[in-house]
Symmetry: C2
Subunit: 255 residues, 2 copies
């Protein structure tokens, strides 16, 4: 009799978000689940960690499920889970389901994917799931089916150490999803606009807004896959060395 798999669940939209509720539901069918997630929305927190203030953790049981709401960022949640909360290294870390795409350059800002990347750094097989719909009442039905299949695969097949998966799911019903594409991260950028306003005392403040611009015409990218109703899977690792440019800077020797 094989031991049940230990699955750690996190997200960045906060522990009450519908997306993580969907992911918990799926995970509970597949293993022993522990949820450690932010106690409030922590979207776009990237790989931030809390070093200048303290962290709190609130344990609770929801529908028989043990959950920990943490005052910190998604990456704080993973560090706390691994070092203080879990009885052993989990067999799988899943993060999400994020409300909104984390394809392409979104991955750099994403707390959901940073949680998965932190897992990868800890050599835990880790997957971030995102649905390309920001809405609080997005429909996660198809996403649950996709997540279930991918989690089963991840529990069956050992993943390369240090690698996590960035899974993005198009916002269509399951019968319109054509399949899964393993992709590279598309080159894209957010073209920012700041919405400039005056507060009641006349002082200026700003809201960050912007528009996503795909700069990549490749058909092997996550953006292409999503635009064509495929689920995109990008295997990710954190070595940002621009290896092909190491020689370029070799003549910058003197000072």
């Amino acid at each position: 009799m094989s031991e049940a798999k230990l699955i750690l669940v996190c997200n960045d939209d906060g522990i009450t978000a519908p997306g993580i509720r969907s992911l918990i539901k799926v995970a509970r069918d597949l293993g022993d689940v522990v949820v450690v997630a932010p106690d409030k929305p922590q979207s776009a927190m990237g790989h931030a960690i809390t070093i200048n203030s303290t962290l709190r953790v609130q344990k609770m049981v929801v529908d028989g499920q043990t959950e920990y709401a943490c005052s910190g960022t998604p990456v704080d949640c993973i560090k706390l889970a691994v070092n203080k909360i879990l009885p052993r290294k989990p067999d799988l870390l899943i993060s999400g389901i994020n409300h909104g795409s984390n394809a392409s350059i979104n991955v750099i800002y994403s707390g959901t994917m940073s949680a998965a990347m932190e897992g990868a750094l800890e050599k835990i097989p880790s997957i971030g799931f995102s649905l390309t719909n920001h809405s609080i009442d997005a429909n996660f039905e198809a996403s649950e089916k996709v997540a279930r299949s991918i989690i089963k695969n991840a529990l069956l097949h050992p993943m390369p150490a240090g690698v996590c998966l960035n899974v993005n799911i198009p916002d269509v019903s399951i019968d319109l999803i054509k399949g899964i594409k393993v992709c590279r991260q598309a080159e894209a950028i957010w073209q920012e606009e700041f919405d400039e306003r005056k507060d009641p005392t006349g002082r200026t403040y700003y809201w960050l807004t912007g528009e996503f611009k795909n700069l990549d015409s490749g058909t092997d990218t996550d953006i292409w896959a999503l635009e064509n109703n495929y689920v995109s899977i990008v295997p990710c690792q954190f070595d940002i060395t621009a290896h092909q440019h190491l020689n370029f800077f070799n003549d910058w020797q003197s000072f």
Copy 2:
């Protein structure tokens, strides 16, 4: 007569930190400087951006130098600078000088380097500088000399688009620095420990602490360079696709 170079200066330790004061001093000798930096410490904020609250910017003039203190993260500062504050795209973005190493895996948590990376995404030549000493009263004398030389190089030689430099400087006097090494990011990890305490009401809280563990025996890494009193330069780019593992996941097709 060529136009003066426009240099944007940012950091993550906050606009009053000694490290950014050193960098501003150096930059003012080399071009027209605009400072846009956080109004308080924002260390370890990674690539976080502010989307759920508003941003404020306070303009001020310090010793004839125009500076903007921003309520947001280092990456917010760059976005605001590029989109709202600067008259044109800067010729160079420099971030730092950070109080503490950003070599190896530190780069993933670093606000200083995230500001530089955001510049690279905007196709601005960008450099993050860090001194391997966390102390508020660290000695930046050698770092200023190193930064001056590297900034001059960057203003003379166009850098590859989309690439930023992660420069780390050993905490020794200039005569002990052996030179510059162009390196790859060492594989390393933070081994966390949480310092568990009780507040005056008896409730538990945590401080994140930890120890840096180099897992990489290579002599071509930034950690090796720093341990041997070289300045390390790692050219960085943000494509975290694990290209070598794309095929591995190709059989995860069904759901």
